[in-house]
Amino acid sequence: MESPLVQLKDVGFGYGPEPVLDGVDLTVGRGDYLGLIGPNGSGKTTLLKLILGTLPAPRRGEIRLFGTPAAQFKERWKIGYVAQKAASFNSGFPATVEEVVMTGLVARRGLWRVLTGEDRKAARAALEQVGMLSFKDRMIGRLSGGQQQRVFIARALVSRPELLILDEPTVGVDVQAESQFYQLIRDLRASMGLTVMLVSHDIGAVAHEVTSLACLNRRLFYHGSPDDFGTEEQLCELYGHPVRSIHHHHH
């Protein structure tokens, strides 16, 4: 049997003495579409960063990526990542959309090698996928937030990853762009067989899209089908106060 793409076992982590994550078990198999929800400060971004390897190793537990312990995992290009607040880059940076997308190929190409015409083609294909090809020569800072978001998704896709990790990708994006975004993920999953981990605060929309839902608040409160989740009690427990139930939401 193929090992899961992401496997967390009893993971505990803290930046200081206070635990931010505690006893988290989470498995993401190939083809899964995992929605990760939880209140502000509940450790969602921290969890993603542990997977991505930008934080020190967890205090407790184990993380495996594609079956390999995270510390030994070298094929980083297999994981595409779109950060929370991706638009916080220097908006005066003088790079074109195409140049930005090509930075997604740097590690895969390797040190001391130059990017080739083939890489340029790959960048254009990724831009085509997110519907931004006609913007390829625009300066990145001259795009709207939603357009930049698409470019960053293209950058994450250009290395042909198997797992795409998105941290609150629809924040600051209008309703139409949001539904286009979910459509895009559906298309990518269908065309590339992409596995997706998505953090969001929009419980209604997420529950509607994903194949499994994980609810985090330091500990993992729920992990399973979105259909079995959503009682008022569960949401209260997670957020500590009443939240509008997902069953009131219509997509």
């Binding site: 990542y81 950060a83 790079a95 074109t96 090509m102 930075t103």
Partner: protein
């Protein structure tokens, strides 16, 4: 009109000046984009202590300046990574402290490094400048894609598997080499002008990163060539003339955009 370049000392000055003019703005583009422009300036000041040490110990001062510059760059990179509070303030304190220290150690030699001395470039200096210039340029081109990716978004580069720490360290060493070669030509006080001003000009014109890099270098070279001619005519210090030429270029571009009504 250009018969000044029939003198061999002016030819050497021209070659050394062009080498510096290619490398400074090329490094400068990445420094400016990473908001590290102040590093170049501070490094130049710290290298002065190295120059002074070279004078005192009767070693080739440009070489000791280079060694100090490289060590200082590694030290500052180390501090930058460990202490979030290692800021512009620390850099701003290091620069005048180093200058003062260097002045105490070897006043007269240090003075000539303050404003540079293009016209006293001898063969020994010229080879060192040329060699360093080629080395810096070659590594810069080989690491172009990594440097662009790290400058644009360091975290994203790290996540993607780019060896960010390695790239940063190599880049700091390249910056130190650039500063060391530039300070003997345009002088410590003007190094940062040649690192920053052509980049500022390019940012007004370019519509891509590659374009920014190209225009920065072309602007830098033009500033040095025109500056050298002007310094010869008006009997100005070369570094001063080069800096004022570069700034005039920037003002010209800004003025043209204003008149032509090109909006930012």
């Amino acid at each position: 009109m250009l018969d000044m370049f029939t003198y061999s000392f002016m030819q050497r000055a021209l070659v050394a000046g062009i080498a510096v003019a290619i490398v400074c703005p090329a490094i400068g583009v990445f420094l400016v984009m990473r908001r590290l422009a102040q590093y170049g300036d501070t490094l130049a000041h710290v290298s002065l202590v190295g120059v002074a040490a070279g004078v005192l110990t009767k070693v080739f001062p440009m070489a000791t300046g280079l060694v100090f510059s490289v060590l200082a760059s590694l030290g500052m990179d180390w501090l930058r990574q460990r202490y979030a509070k290692f800021s512009e303030l620390s850099l701003a304190i290091m620069a005048p402290t180093s200058l003062a220290l260097a002045m105490v150690l070897a006043r007269s030699e240090v003075m000539s490094y303050l404003f540079g001395s293009v016209v006293t470039v001898d063969n020994e200096k010229l080879y060192l400048i040329g060699g360093l210039g080629l080395l810096v340029l070659a590594v810069l081109l080989l690491l172009y894609k990594e440097l662009l990716s790290v400058s644009f978004d360091e975290e994203q580069a790290r996540v993607g598997g780019v060896p960010v720490a390695f790239v940063n360290t190599v880049f700091m060493v390249l910056t130190a080499m650039t500063v060391a070669m530039a300070m003997s030509v345009v002088g410590v006080l003007l190094v940062s002008a040649l690192i920053v001003v052509p980049v500022a000009t390019a940012l007004q014109i370019a519509r891509s990163f590659r374009g920014t890099l190209t225009i920065s270098v072309l602007t830098g070279v033009a500033s040095v060539v025109v500056g050298l001619v002007v310094s010869y005519w008006l009997n100005l210090m070369p570094g001063v003339a080069v800096t004022l030429t570069a700034v005039a270029g920037l003002l010209l571009v800004l003025g043209y955009k204003r008149i032509a009504g090109i909006e930012e």
